[in-house]
């Protein structure tokens, strides 16, 4: 149990540091949100009044800790652009879209790239290997938003398979959700699938060179048995960590893809808020995205630990 507690502590420390970092980043802006809202013509009195209203007149530490507490209570201040609307309300409405998009993308990545990687590594130089390799290279060479534009153009406009920009919660209507989210998720997943297949392939190939595979062969295992019973679990261990790292990339991808498909998620809000200089919103979104990434990575570490018997106390 010791290990999990240690991991939890380290998770909380990282969380704190990430919050601090997200907060401090926005302290380097010349002026502050109050000034950017009122414009340069505002009188000093007006600015002072607004500053007091937003709480900018307190010192940095006080503001950080009230903001940090707000992460848990949901009170992260008021949006500058959308007037009295709270940042948490703005984000709360959009968070599910981004999370479901991310979940669907990761499912696509896992379901497609792991079997594909295994097949490719089993027959290196085979047709599947060569073709998938070239396709992967191509997907990695095109920016993800271009892939998104093409997918939305071909499947949304030419074939009319879905309506770009529409979002339905999976809890209200699952088939409808799949219909409107499948293609955006595919657009997020494609470049990462390409990366994961390559990684999986290398991982399996490395495992295949290990001595225990030779032992398995000497025991009379068939190629399939070696693959599924011996190599899969061993080669999955690094891949699990890799997928943990991919989560950050998926979040980055969804920022782009939400803009391409006009999906009402956090990414779109972020991009708009950046152009609007709505810093409280930007700050909160940056924080939440990082939070998702470290939480998933924390879970991945735990899963790794459960899967690999060799992990000792020193693996922290």
């Amino acid at each position: 149990m010791n290990y999990y507690i240690k991991k939890l502590i380290s998770f909380l420390i990282t969380l704190f540091c990430v919050a601090l970092l997200s907060f401090l980043l926005f302290q380097i802006i010349p002026g502050d949100a109050a000034m950017s809202k009122l414009g340069i013509e505002a009188t000093p009195e007006q600015v002072e009044e607004l500053r007091a209203q937003y709480g900018y007149d307190r010192n940095v530490f006080a503001r950080f800790f009230s903001w940090f507490g707000g992460i848990f209570t949901g009170d992260l201040g008021v949006s500058i652009k959308y007037g009295p609307m709270k940042v948490s309300e703005l984000i709360g409405a959009r968070l599910p879209v981004t999370i479901w998009l991310g979940v669907l993308s990761i499912i696509l990545i896992v379901v497609i790239s792991i079997p594909l990687g295994l097949i490719c590594a089993k027959k290196p130089g085979g047709i599947v290997d060569i073709v998938s390799d070239w396709i992967a290279q191509l997907f990695m060479a095109v920016p993800s938003f271009v892939q998104g534009i093409l997918i939305s153009f071909v499947f949304g406009i030419v074939f009319s398979l879905f309506v770009p920009g529409k979002y339905v919660s999976p809890l209200t209507d699952f088939p409808e959700f799949l219909q409107c989210m499948f293609f955006p998720a595919l657009a997020v997943a494609l470049p990462k699938i390409a990366m994961t297949v390559r990684f999986m392939k290398t991982s399996v190939k490395k495992e295949l060179k290990c001595d225990y595979v030779r032992t398995a062969k000497a025991k009379g295992c068939s190629v399939n048995r070696i693959m599924w019973k011996h190599v899969l679990k061993n080669s999955m261990l690094p891949v699990i960590t890799f997928i943990g790292l991919i989560v950050a990339e998926v979040m980055a991808g969804s920022i782009m893809i939400e803009k391409v498909f006009n999906l009402p998620g956090m990414g779109l809000l972020l991009v708009n808020s950046i152009s609007n200089r709505d810093y409280p919103v930007v700050q909160a979104i940056v924080m939440y995205i990082a939070l998702i990434v470290i939480t998933v990575n924390f879970l991945v570490d735990i899963a790794y630990r459960l899967l690999d018997p060799r992990q000792t106390e020193e693996g922290l």
């Binding site: 130089g125 920016p143 061993n234 920022i255 922290l316």
Partner: protein, 842 residues
């Protein structure tokens, strides 16, 4: 056939990659000098024109020439990428190198910050930075550059962590190189391949990131073009002007694809195995056709090897051998063809016998066993001959499915490395049970489990029940090797191929393992093919020995029976005693006299008793009083110091060879590192009557810098000495060269190796260079850390001879570390045994 194979996958990728890169970059460079249109010139009469000769790529919605804009945009995009990656790589490398090498609190803090930064997706970080410092070309450069620093720092840090513990780093420190010199001159060249491929990947990512930022309106500002801007501007015209999107996209694909293909070239070689396999099949078919022809003619002319042996077999009128190998040829697939390694060997294995196979590394012993088992690696293939089982089945012609049934059933294999031969994430019981799952699926689970436990107990393992549910990492090397033997036992194999089964184990454990083999051989009449480089191992067990050299069997010897042999059925305990009791003299007697020169040489080297002892002059060179040495625990769980050497006192006199022996982990390396000045945590008194000593390490491959050529390696101590002046002056380098050449002669090396790298030399040559390196430093005390144990027997003797000759010539004093008592007793004048941190003189 060599020519055909030379154009392998790897080269094709490099060539295609370079061609793509050329297509992507040459027009860009051209456009920098010659522009037919102004990229920003608006011309409403030419709006959205499709590609023509006038406008190669057509025009955009403002009537601007897309070709010029693509090239101008590509120049901007590539420029930004190059700048950001260079910035990230330079700063990241310095941070990563210093933190990785020095460690400590700065490293801890930086790595925490790095972990936090890694939680922000890189594009997000860039977005935020750009939004904070405003848009524009220079600002993206800085934003992306900052984003790249952590990833380079991380990569370089892990490289430095890996490299800093290598022997060559310690060697450089011993020569007197400062920390910064070690970091940037010795280690950096070894990390360059990784750094280089990270840079190429980084450029790709930077191009994509620039595109992303521009798409979000935060990158290059209009009207200036960049590839990203164009891609996002064109999206509204997909239907009526698809070329607008197509050409910038194509330019980007060409560039990234080209770069990826080129960077792949620095990875692992991708020889097309399929092509080679087809080739081998063709070769075999040809050879068989030839053989068949010969056989038809054999009625009159009886000169083929196969016919000869057939005749012999009949004459001997022995029972049919279990395995008979005839003219077996095996080759390795190289980049440029097939390198024949086994050159047509023939031998038999009879039921119940122990056949020893001995030879130096590269003689083809393991290859022979793997060919019988049918588990040659993908890069090796049988190119001729046959392996007949029971006088009926030719194993080389067996289908994979039929062969599979033999493996683990009638044939079993015990590998050299018990530490890695077991699946690390499967329980021991499951791994042994698997054989029954495959070969005796009709048994119930309980029956299977009982058989597994029996097999484990048969190898002398206690608590088989408990072991069943344990993982390999919880077992010692000796226990794992027994588990491997249990695997061979469980299916009641007729033949166990034991490939150096004791080499990786400590001496005591090795003897026990040999006895288990002997016990199995007696009890179940299992034939064993025992492969070893060590004649003493063979002598303890074998009935017959094949001596192999360079892919041939040079001699077959019948061993005389020993006393333990006459006892046929006995308990395990008794055999345990017998095996270890068989003395060296008995061993030699069993071998008799070899007929061939090579056999004689091998036997002489293995049982050499040549003495090198010498008297010291009396002056004390090393004096330790109440010396304790600790090292810092590396694990995060156990912090603090651990005492490895505990309050020892000893003296080493000038001119002698002092031996330090002890089991692995006893602290002998820690002690000599303290003498060499490489240990930080020392208590007590340690006096040296000379300069800091230099060292010859066990593995010359890791103690000599793999990134340097031999000449550069040998120059290093001279460069550090300052007596030779600046090394960039030609005159000074020539002076160094004369010095180096004279040392090469003394270590009996050829001058031509100066231009080679360590990886291109043999083990013996490498160790000679390591010795030459110590001579150049002109130190009087030299520490030899297992100097010969990684070498072949005959080479061992040559190196020993050389070392002793040099000792006499230069009046050196040696401190020799070894686990080999035999070696120590032949060479050393004084021996210190280390046990549990204490020292005792013998």
């Amino acid at each position: 056939m060599n020519k055909e194979l030379k154009y392998n996958n790897k080269n094709i990728r490099l060539i295609v990659g370079l061609i793509l890169l050329g297509f992507a970059t040459l027009p860009v460079i051209f456009t920098v000098f010659v522009q037919f249109y102004d990229p920003n010139e608006v011309n409403y009469s030419e709006m959205l024109k499709h590609p023509t000769f006038k406008h190669l790529f057509g025009t955009d919605d403002y009537g601007r020439d897309i070709f010029t804009r693509v090239m101008k945009g590509a120049a901007t995009t590539f420029g930004i990428s190059l700048f950001t990656v260079t910035m990230g790589a330079v700063i990241g490398t310095v941070i990563g190198a210093l933190t990785g090498y020095f460690g400590g609190i700065v490293d801890e803090i930086l790595m925490r910050v790095n972990d936090c930064l890694a939680s922000f997706p890189s594009i997000l970080l860039a977005l935020v930075v750009v939004s904070l410092i405003d848009k524009g070309t220079w600002n993206i450069c800085i934003a992306l550059g900052l984003v790249f620093i952590p990833s380079f720092a991380r990569i370089m840090r892990s490289e430095y962590l890996k490299e800093k513990n290598r022997d060559y780093v310690q060697n450089a420190r011993l020569m007197g190189a400062g920390h910064l010199r070690v970091v940037f001159i010795h280690i950096l060249p070894n990390t360059l391949p990784i750094l280089f491929s990270a840079i190429l990947v980084g450029i790709n990512n930077a191009v994509l990131a620039e595109a992303g930022l521009s798409y979000l309106g935060l990158g290059v500002q209009p009207p200036d073009p960049s590839l990203g801007r164009m891609l996002s501007e064109a999206k509204t015209f997909l239907l009526n002007a698809p070329w607008y999107e197509l050409f910038p996209c194509l330019e980007m694909i060409l560039f990234i694809l080209g770069l990826t293909l080129v960077s792949d070239n620095f990875g692992v070689s991708g020889v097309s195995l399929n092509a080679v396999k087809r080739k081998i099949e063709k070769l075999r078919a040809e050879k068989e056709a030839e053989d068949a022809n010969d056989k038809n003619n054999a009625g009159t002319i009886n000169n083929t090897g196969a016919a000869d042996i057939e005749k012999k077999d009949i004459k001997a009128s022995e029972p049919v051998p279990m395995i008979s190998v005839r003219n077996l040829e095996v080759g390795f697939i190289e980049d440029d063809g097939i390198d024949d390694t086994l050159l047509g060997i023939s031998f038999d294995i009879h039921k119940g016998e122990v056949l020893g196979v001995v030879g130096e590394s590269g003689s083809g012993k393991s290859l022979t066993a793997m060919s019988i088992m049918g588990i040659l690696s993908e890069k090796a293939a049988i190119t001729g001959g046959s392996i007949i089982l029971d006088g009926k089945t030719d194993l080389t012609k067996l289908s994979e499915e039929e062969y599979r049934k033999l493996r683990g059933g009638r044939l079993a294999y015990v590998f050299q490395e018990p530490m890695t031969s077991l699946n690390p994430v499967q329980k021991i019981g499951v791994q042994i049970d698997e054989i029954l799952d495959i070969h005796a699926a009709h048994l119930s689970e309980d029956e299977q489990k009982k058989l597994v436990l029996d097999a484990l107990e048969d190898t002398g393992l206690k608590d088989a029940d408990k072991l069943y549910d344990m993982y390999p990492f919880e077992l010692s090397g000796g226990m794992r090797q027994r588990v491997c033997i249990a695997m061979a036992l469980i299916a009641k194999a007729d033949l166990i191929l034991a490939d150096e089964p004791t080499t990786a184990l400590d001496a005591g454990v090795a003897d026990i393992i040999l006895d288990i083999f002997k016990h199995i051989n007696r009890k179940y009449k299992t034939a064993i093919m025992l492969i070893s480089h060590d004649l003493r191992v063979i002598g303890k067990l074998a009935d017959r020995v094949l001596i192999m050299q360079d892919g041939n069997i040079v001699e077959t010897m019948e061993l005389k029976s020993d006393t333990a042999h006459t006892e046929s059925e006995g308990s395990t305990d008794k055999h345990h005693k017998k095996g270890t009791e068989l003395s060296e003299e008995d061993c030699i007697l069993r071998f008799g006299t070899p007929k061939t020169d090579y056999g004689k040489k091998l036997l002489a080297a293995a049982f050499s008793t040549k003495q090198y002892r010498q008297k010291g002059t009396g002056k004390t060179l090393v004096k330790a009083e109440h010396l304790s040495v600790s090292y810092k625990m590396a694990s995060k769980k156990q912090k603090g110091l651990k005492k490895v050497i505990d309050d020892v006192s000893f003296e080493i006199k000038e001119g002698i060879t002092a031996g330090i022996v002890g089991e692995s982990g006893s602290g002998k390396s820690t002690l000599v590192k303290a003498i060499a000045g490489l240990q930080r945590y020392i208590e007590g008194k340690l006096e040296l009557g000379c300069d800091r000593p230099c060292m010859v390490f066990q593995d010359p491959y890791s103690s000599l810098n793999p990134a340097f050529k031999v000449r550069r390696i040998l120059e290093e101590p001279l460069r550090l000495k300052n007596g030779f002046g600046y090394s960039w002056k030609k005159k000074n380098r020539e002076r160094m060269l004369t010095e180096i050449k004279s040392m090469l002669h003394k270590t009996e090396l050829d001058e031509e190796i100066l231009g080679r790298k360590i990886s291109e030399l043999s083990g013996g040559q490498r160790q000679r260079i390591a010795i030459a390196l110590t001579l150049i430093q002109k130190k009087s005390l030299i520490i030899l850390d297992e100097p010969v144990s990684a070498l072949d027997v005959t080479i061992q003797e040559q190196i020993l001879d050389l070392l002793m000759k040099l000792k006499k010539a230069f009046g050196l004093t040696y401190i020799l570390i070894s686990h080999d008592m035999r070696l120590v007793s032949r060479v050393c004048d004084e021996v210190f045994v280390i046990e549990d941190g204490k020292i005792r003189s013998e």
